[in-house]
């Protein structure tokens, strides 16, 4: 297993191999994303039982929670890619990190927006300085910072390393930010009704949620591969294999 992993790692470091193998992976990600998301959506929207307290507005959970999970895990993945780039100098790690940033920002935005919309029927207001939403808002700014830094720096190798460092600094700070915001929230207002923490959700409710989370991850893979493939072609435009691959068609 370990040997297989190290070979995979070394191969992924080669842009040509990356491009070829991801071409084969792409359909699997696409199919699983489409299947999981459609099953999860229909199940969650149509078949899952209504929440006795929140009514049908609770169905927003099927977007809010997966997007929030992805928003956080994508940032961690970007930091890991940053370590791989800075320590092992694997350039493909940066391609992946670069492809993830806009998806992460989109997911954070989705979590914020669905949270805000959900807030109207549950809290009676669009925005509440709830600990969870506040942390998410800060995460959104962290993503914007990463994207802006990449835009601002030239040449690309420098931007790559700077973004990697910033992602690592950010990921060390995220738990501190989260802890401090939680603390700040309990300091300023008594813990009232929270959005997602509910006692003992029945399986008919959490199973579609699990499927949605998996579907979101599959879509993440699909989207990252599409972006990374375009980026690999652009970065390697001068090399022979890109020319050969594209001229074949």
């Amino acid at each position: 297993m370990w040997k297989w992993l190290t070979t995979l790692y070394h191969r992924l470091g080669s842009p040509k191999w990356f491009y070829q193998i991801t071409g084969r992976w792409l359909p699997w990600f696409a199919i699983s994303a489409l299947v999981l998301l459609s099953v999860g959506l229909v199940w969650g929207l149509v078949y899952a039982p209504m929440d006795y307290q929140q009514g049908n507005s609770f169905r927003i959970i099927y977007l809010h929670v997966p997007s929030a999970i992805l928003a956080q895990s994508i940032y961690v993945m970007m930091a890991i890619a940053g370590v791989v780039l800075l320590v092992w100098k694997m350039k493909m790690a940066d391609v992946v990190a670069q492809s993830m940033a806009p998806i992460g920002a989109g997911m954070t935005f989705m979590a914020l927006a669905t949270g805000a919309i959900w807030g109207v029927p549950t809290w009676g207001t669009w925005w509440m300085w709830d600990a969870r939403l506040t942390s998410m808002l800060i995460l959104f700014f962290l993503y914007l910072g990463l994207i802006a830094l990449r835009e601002a720096l030239k040449p690309q190798e420098v931007a790559a390393k700077a973004c990697a460092l910033l992602a690592i600094v950010g990921v060390i700070n995220i738990p501190i930010i989260k802890y401090s915001v939680d603390w700040w929230y309990t300091l300023h207002q008594p813990a009232t009704f929270t959005l997602t923490q509910k006692p003992a959700m029945p399986a008919s409710m959490w199973l579609p949620l699990l499927i949605m989370v998996l579907g979101f991850y599959a879509l993440l893979g699909w989207s990252v591969l599409l972006r990374a493939r375009a980026e690999v072609l652009l970065r390697e435009r001068k090399s022979g294999w890109v020319r050969e691959t594209l001229e074949k068609k």
Binding site: K89, K154, Q156, R235, K238, S239, G240, R243
Partner: protein, 219 residues
């Protein structure tokens, strides 16, 4: 501390080096070596990557391919030893405008354990900056700032010099003096790598490395 290597082994060995800037291949498959007593002049038209090569040698820019050996061992394992022996002067003089001429020089001297102010003043006098010791460097001209940086060559203990266009903004007498200093340094067993368009043919021990405009190859 820097150990003088045996005559056989080269100080710096460059093997199949390749360098890229902004996704443009500057040079590739570049190999050469520098040993004690060498003076290596790097020449070539603008934009072939002379400065990039120098910055790769100084460890300020990562190489894309190839490796660097310092006294036979990979350079990336011994940057600190390498820098203890190496003096790098880039395009920028590294002179702070807020500090006086003497303060600027003394910072670099302090890095080598040289605190003797009389010696520093003597070095400044030799580069023609007598009377400017306590002037803030922002009052100096570009050529004078350059001379402050070059005064470092007079007080340094470091045997391996990397000089990027050291003759820029110098007058004739200063150029001659610098040439003399470099010759003395290599004669005494040091080594110099420099980028320059100047004709240095008269200098003993001079070797040349000419960088060609690179050819885009289909890798």
């Amino acid at each position: 501390m820097f150990e003088p290597p045996s005559a056989a082994s080269a100080w710096l060995q460059v093997e199949q080096l390749a360098c890229e800037r902004d996704e443009r291949r500057l040079f590739s498959d570049l190999s050469f070596s520098v040993s004690a007593g060498d003076m290596l002049q790097i020449e070539g038209p603008n934009g072939v990557g002379k400065t990039s090569l120098m910055r790769v040698l100084a460890g300020l820019l990562p190489a894309v391919e190839g490796r660097l050996l310092w006294q036979g061992e990979p350079l990336e394992d011994q940057w600190s030893e390498f820098y203890q022996a190496t003096l790098f002067l880039g395009h920028l003089a590294g002179i702070k405008p807020e500090l006086t001429t003497l303060e600027n020089l003394s910072w670099y001297a302090a890095q080598e354990g040289e605190t003797d102010e009389a010696l520093l003043e003597q070095a400044l006098a030799q580069v023609g900056l007598q009377g400017y010791e306590d002037q803030p460097a922002h009052q100096l001209s570009a050529g004078q700032k350059r001379r402050v940086a070059l005064a470092r060559l007079l007080i340094t203990h470091k045997p391996f010099w990397l000089l990027d266009e050291p003759f820029t903004a110098l007058d004739k007498a200063a150029v001659a003096a610098l040439e003399q200093r470099m010759v003395a340094h290599t004669r005494a067993g040091g080594a110099v790598v420099l980028i320059s368009h100047h004709a240095l043919e008269g200098l003993p021990g001079l070797k040349k490395l000419v960088l060609q405009a690179s050819v885009e190859e289909g890798r």
